[in-house]
C-alpha cells in the first residue's frame, strides 16, 4: 500500500475532494427524491411514506461510501470499500424490499406488490460490480507489482 501518498497537504485535498463528491451524491438524492415525490399523488405518497427513512438511510450510507472510496483512491482500500459497498447494497435492498414483496396495509386495504424481478436485476448488477471490483483490485496489484519491478530491472541494464 502506497501510504507515502498521504502527505498532510495531500490528505486535505483528498478530504476536500471526497467531501465534495459525497455532498454532490447526497444533493442529487434530494433533487431526485423531491422530483419523484412531486410526481406522486397523495395516496401513493402515503403508501411509500413508510419507506422514506430506508431511502434516506440508503443515500446517507452511499454518500459515506463515496467519501471513503474517494479518500482512499490509489490504494487497495478503494477496492475493498467498493466491494463492501456492493455487498451492502445487495443486503440493504433485500432487507428494505422485504425479499421483493412490498406489503402495505392501510386500515382495511391491503396492497401487495411483487418486485422480485427488479430486486433480481439490482442484485445481478451489484454482483457484476463485485466481479469488476475484484478484477480491478487484481489489476491494481498487478500494475503496482510491475511498477516496483521496473526500476530494479532498469538498474540492471
Amino acid at each position: 500500500m502506497n501510504l507515502k501518498k498521504f502527505s498532510k497537504r495531500n490528505i486535505s485535498i483528498r478530504i476536500l475532494k471526497a467531501g465534495v463528491k459525497a455532498v454532490l451524491v447526497y444533493v442529487a438524492y434530494f433533487i431526485i427524491a423531491h422530483f419523484i415525490f412531486m410526481l406522486l399523488i397523495q395516496q401513493a405518497y402515503e403508501l411509500i411514506g413508510e419507506y422514506s427513512p430506508f431511502i434516506e438511510g440508503f443515500f446517507i450510507a452511499i454518500a459515506v461510501f463515496v467519501f471513503l472510496t474517494e479518500f482512499s483512491s490509489g490504494t487497495i482500500f478503494k477496492y475493498m470499500l467498493e466491494f463492501a459497498r456492493s455487498l451492502f447494497v445487495i443486503f440493504y435492498l433485500i432487507i428494505a424490499l422485504k425479499n421483493g414483496i412490498i406489503d402495505v396495509n392501510i386500515q382495511n386495504v391491503t396492497l401487495i406488490l411483487n418486485l422480485q424481478f427488479f430486486l433480481l436485476m439490482l442484485i445481478s448488477i451489484n454482483l457484476i460490480e463485485i466481479a469488476r471490483t475484484v478484477l480491478s483490485a487484481i489489476d491494481f496489484l498487478h500494475e503496482k507489482a510491475e511498477g516496483e519491478l521496473q526500476p530494479s530491472a532498469g538498474a540492471r541494464i
Binding site: 406488490l113 436485476m121 448488477i125 457484476i128 460490480e129
Partner: protein, 267 residues
C-alpha cells in the same frame, strides 16, 4: 484484464439502462390504465340473487395485463366463508379496452346454515380482491374489506300458542303468526303450509296460506306479516299434545319450524 474490466463495465451500464427504461415505461403504463367501475346491478332471478358489477378497463399503456382475477369472498362475522365468486381475464393487451362483468350469484340454500340468516339480522363481511400480473414482471394484489348489513326475511318470527274451537266432527286449531321482512332483496311471495301432528306423528290437519310480503324499502317501516291461521283438525285423532309444523315455501328458500301444542282443557 483491461478488456474484461471494460466488458463488465459495459454490462453494468447496459443493465442499468434496461432497468431504468423498464421502470419508467412501467410507471408510465400503470398511470395510463383507466378503470371505470359502473353502477352495480342487483337482479333476483328464480331462486338466485345476482349482484353484477360492470368494469371497463382501458389499457393505454405499453404492456399487457395478464391473469386478471377478480374475486369476491363473503364471510359471516366469525370469518366463516359463505360465498366465493371469481372472474378471470387471461389477457388485456396494450391499446385494448375490455368490458368485464363480475357477477356474484347466490342461492340462499347454498349458504351453510342459511336458515339462521332467515330469522336473524346480521352483518356480512365482503372482501373483493384484484390479482394481476402487469407486463409479466410485476405481480400485483389488492384487497379491501367492508361490512354489509343483512336483513332477515323472517325477522322476529313469532308463533302464538295455538287454541282449539270445537264443532261436531272437527276442531279448528288457530294460531297467530307474525314476522317482519327486513331484507331489501327478497320478496316473500309463496305459501305457508301448516300441518298439525298428533303425539304419534300422524298428520291430523293441514292447510296452506298464501304469503306476499314485499322487500324492505329502506324507509324505516318494515313490511310485516301478522295473520291468524285456522286449520281444521280430525277430532278422532286429536291427542292432548302434539306439534304444529310451519313450512314457508318461496322461490328463494324453504324454511320449516315447529311449535308444540297442548290442549289440556279438552281432555
Amino acid at each position: 484484464m483491461k478488456y474484461a474490466l471494460r466488458a463488465l463495465r459495459w454490462a453494468t451500464i447496459i443493465l442499468w439502462i434496461l432497468l431504468v427504461f423498464l421502470v419508467i415505461t412501467l410507471v408510465y403504463s400503470a398511470f395510463n390504465i383507466g378503470i371505470n367501475i359502473g353502477e352495480s346491478q342487483l337482479l333476483v332471478k328464480d331462486d338466485r340473487i345476482i349482484w353484477a358489477l360492470p368494469a371497463r378497463i382501458n389499457n393505454s399503456g405499453l404492456y399487457g395485463i395478464y391473469d386478471l382475477n377478480i374475486t369476491t369472498v363473503i364471510e359471516d362475522v366469525d370469518g366463516a366463508i359463505l360465498l366465493r365468486s371469481s372472474s378471470f381475464v387471461p389477457l388485456i393487451s396494450k391499446e385494448e379496452t375490455r368490458q368485464i362483468w363480475h357477477n356474484i350469484s347466490v342461492s340462499l340454500e347454498e349458504i351453510p346454515n342459511y336458515q339462521a340468516y332467515l330469522t336473524n339480522d346480521t352483518n356480512f363481511i365482503i372482501k373483493p380482491s384484484i390479482r394481476l400480473n402487469f407486463a409479466k414482471v410485476t405481480p400485483f394484489f389488492f384487497t379491501f374489506n367492508s361490512t354489509i348489513p343483512w336483513g332477515a326475511p323472517l325477522y322476529n318470527l313469532h308463533v302464538d300458542e295455538p287454541n282449539c274451537q270445537f264443532n261436531a266432527t272437527h276442531c279448528i286449531v288457530s294460531l297467530n303468526v307474525s314476522f317482519e321482512n327486513h331484507s331489501p332483496y327478497i320478496n316473500l311471495n309463496g305459501t305457508l303450509k301448516v300441518e298439525v301432528l298428533n303425539q304419534n306423528e300422524e298428520k291430523i290437519g293441514i292447510n296452506s296460506f298464501p304469503i306476499n310480503v314485499p322487500p324492505y324499502q329502506g324507509n324505516g317501516n318494515y313490511p310485516a306479516y301478522n295473520e291468524t291461521l285456522s286449520i281444521p283438525v280430525d277430532i278422532s285423532k286429536l291427542t292432548r299434545s302434539g306439534k304444529i309444523r310451519l313450512t314457508f315455501q318461496t322461490s328463494m328458500f324453504s324454511y320449516e319450524t315447529e311449535v308444540p301444542y297442548e290442549f289440556e282443557e279438552i281432555f
